[in-house]
């Protein structure tokens, strides 16, 4: 099979992406244009924004763990006004569809924000209903089907753009939460955000992070998130975007086989900033080797 016979294009609802590889929210910005051509990506997903400006969490915000990292960045945000006036226009130069990630403390504020960012130049909205740092003890909308249903319904009413729900792994029943999001009209699921974790400095006896707890990501969590994608795939019919510990084309293929239609890359980009373009090239090579012409043929194949 020749390279040009391979199609990496996938559909996320009505949105067609030229390939299934995009950044995870919080691990991307146009600062990366200094490292590679950002238009090679399937989409651009921005760091979550909030209605009002917020400063995020106190230092330290980072701690490295075995094959992963904890972060308690929180959601530093300049607020939606600054976003619309200054950030959004910067991305107009790119062809890649722009996905705006939003979050808010209440369903009402969330919906208002959703409406505000439903503007030309935005291709989809990713509702971060799962940030484990936002609410006390890591509680978030996406921990329970009920709160997921409630907030996603409000968001659905607030926008006509494709609406993605970013789920939390900090739940006992990801399939039920996925069903709630789908029932509320989400066009796709992003599975999943970071897992709530913590670390303690045995010299000082103090938590390693200023915010005490933070989100675990990186290769360490991949088996957990692959499992969740698989469970969601069995539970709902809408497309799933897999995220968690992806750093190679094989990792991406694993998520596709588990049922994801696309993947996002977070922590791996910090270590190797060209991880995403390398995954795109690697996926193409993998498909040539396996004699598979359309990447869509891989989606959910492990469930067969």
């Amino acid at each position: 099979m020749r390279e040009e016979d391979v199609s990496l294009s996938v559909e996320i609802g009505d949105l067609r992406l030229k390939n299934p590889v995009m950044p995870a929210s919080g691990a991307f910005s146009d600062d990366m244009a200094r490292i590679f051509d950002l238009d090679v990506l399937g989409a651009h997903v921005l760091k979550t924004i909030t209605p009002q400006p917020r400063r995020g969490n106190p230092q330290p915000r980072l701690h490295e763990t075995a094959a992963g990292m904890l972060n308690s960045i929180g959601i530093p945000s300049k607020g939606v006004k600054h976003f619309l006036a200054h950030t959004l226009p910067r991305y107009a130069r790119y062809q890649a569809p722009l996905v705006v990630s939003i979050s808010a403390d209440t369903a009402a504020e969330f919906a208002a924000l959703c409406e505000q960012v439903s503007v030309p130049g935005v291709s989809a909205i990713e509702a971060n209903i799962s940030c484990p740092n936002l609410e006390e003890d890591g509680r978030a909308f996406a921990m329970f089907p009920e709160s997921t249903l409630k907030v996603m319904r409000r968001l659905r009413e607030a926008t006509e753009l494709p609406l993605w729900a970013k789920l939390s792994p900090n739940t006992g029943d990801i399939a039920a939460v996925a069903q709630a999001a789908a029932a509320a009209g989400a066009d796709a699921l992003v599975v999943a955000n970071t897992i709530l974790g913590m670390a303690i400095d045995v010299e000082t006896f103090r938590p390693r992070l200023g915010a005490v707890m933070g989100g675990l990501s990186g290769p360490a969590i991949k088996p957990i998130h692959v499992r969740m994608v698989y469970q969601c795939r069995r539970a709902v019919d809408i497309p799933i975007i897999g995220v968690g510990g992806i750093s190679t084309a094989e990792d991406a293929a694993e998520y596709l086989l588990a049922g994801a239609s696309a993947v996002q890359v977070g922590a791996a980009s910090f270590i190797h900033p060209t991880t995403m373009p390398e995954i795109i090239a690697g996926l193409r090579a993998y498909m040539q080797r396996k004699g598979i012409s359309r990447v869509e043929e891989l989606i959910g194949r492990a469930l067969a």
Binding site: S29, R34, L62, P76, F270, I271
Partner: protein, 268 residues
């Protein structure tokens, strides 16, 4: 074809020698694009595994010296934790992946003729390329190197060789006490007609330089350290507050820094 300013560079260790207890000088053979680094910029080093486990993050290290024609990139580092411990075990011929060059380096106003550099410990690694640039541009450099002990004074000979006037102070003989250093630097500033202040490596020295900057109305720059995940601006892990235009603003040390205006830095 576009070339991108920030790249991962596969380098080869040439030497990695102990220069003082706990301090090492790492010299790498590096590809051309890495050698475009400017004084004050840094690289993010992918340290090898330590006792079978790979440190997840890269480790930021300031550019210490560049030899463009010889394709050599130098770092001067202190062994403090698992990343640098693993780095310390690297041998000539080993491969090391460095990401960079990263960040904003020093900027020298054309009018500044005499620069005062004050470094504590391994902070001198960050200031040394500034001394080299100053020499190339015909500026005068006076450097104060502070350390715990005589044995851990670093890069003094190198600064000498770059034509800098080097003063050393240490804790063990009391010469590095803040009052003594303050008095000494006041004298230098007045007598040598210092035009700008530069510092790296110690919060107390930074505060002192800020005070001297205010007292003598001198401009200055400070290079900061902050834990980093990415090093190129996307993770917001390295953010800290600065006083800019009279307001507290959160800036990323990796992109807006690591070199900042001396008076902007908040040291609390």
């Amino acid at each position: 074809m576009t070339t991108y300013p920030i790249q991962e560079h596969p380098c080869t260790v040439l030497t990695n020698e102990m220069v003082a207890p706990q301090y090492r000088h790492l010299m790498l053979r590096a590809p051309g694009a890495a050698l475009l680094a400017q004084p004050g910029q840094f690289f993010n080093l992918l340290c090898p595994p330590d006792d079978h486990t790979q440190p997840f993050f890269r480790r930021p290290m300031s550019l210490y010296r560049l030899e463009r024609e010889k394709q050599r990139l130098h770092f001067l580092y202190k062994v403090v934790g698992r990343g640098t411990r693993a780095l310390a075990r690297m041998r000539p011929g080993d491969e090391l992946n460095v990401l960079g060059p990263l960040g904003q380096g020093f900027s020298l106003h054309p009018n500044w003729k005499t620069l005062l550099l004050a470094a504590r410990g391994v902070g001198v690694a960050t200031l040394a390329p500034l001394a080299e640039a100053a020499r190339d541009q015909g500026r005068q450099v006076i450097a104060l190197c502070s350390a715990r002990t005589r044995a851990t004074l670093l890069a003094v000979d190198y600064l000498h060789a770059l034509g800098a006037v080097v003063h050393t102070v240490t804790d063990d003989d009391g010469s590095a006490s803040m009052p003594a250093v303050e008095a000494f630097l006041q004298g230098v500033i007045v007598e040598e007609k210092v035009d700008a202040l530069f510092t790296c490596g110690s919060k107390r020295l930074l505060r002192l330089m800020q005070k001297l900057g205010r007292d003598y109305d001198l401009p200055g720059q400070a290079a900061l350290e902050q834990q980093m995940a990415c090093g190129f601006g996307v993770c917001h892990g390295c953010v800290r507050p600065f006083l800019r235009h009279g307001r507290v603003v959160d800036l990323r040390v990796c992109v807006e820094g690591p070199v900042f205006d001396l008076q902007e830095v908040m040291t609390l």
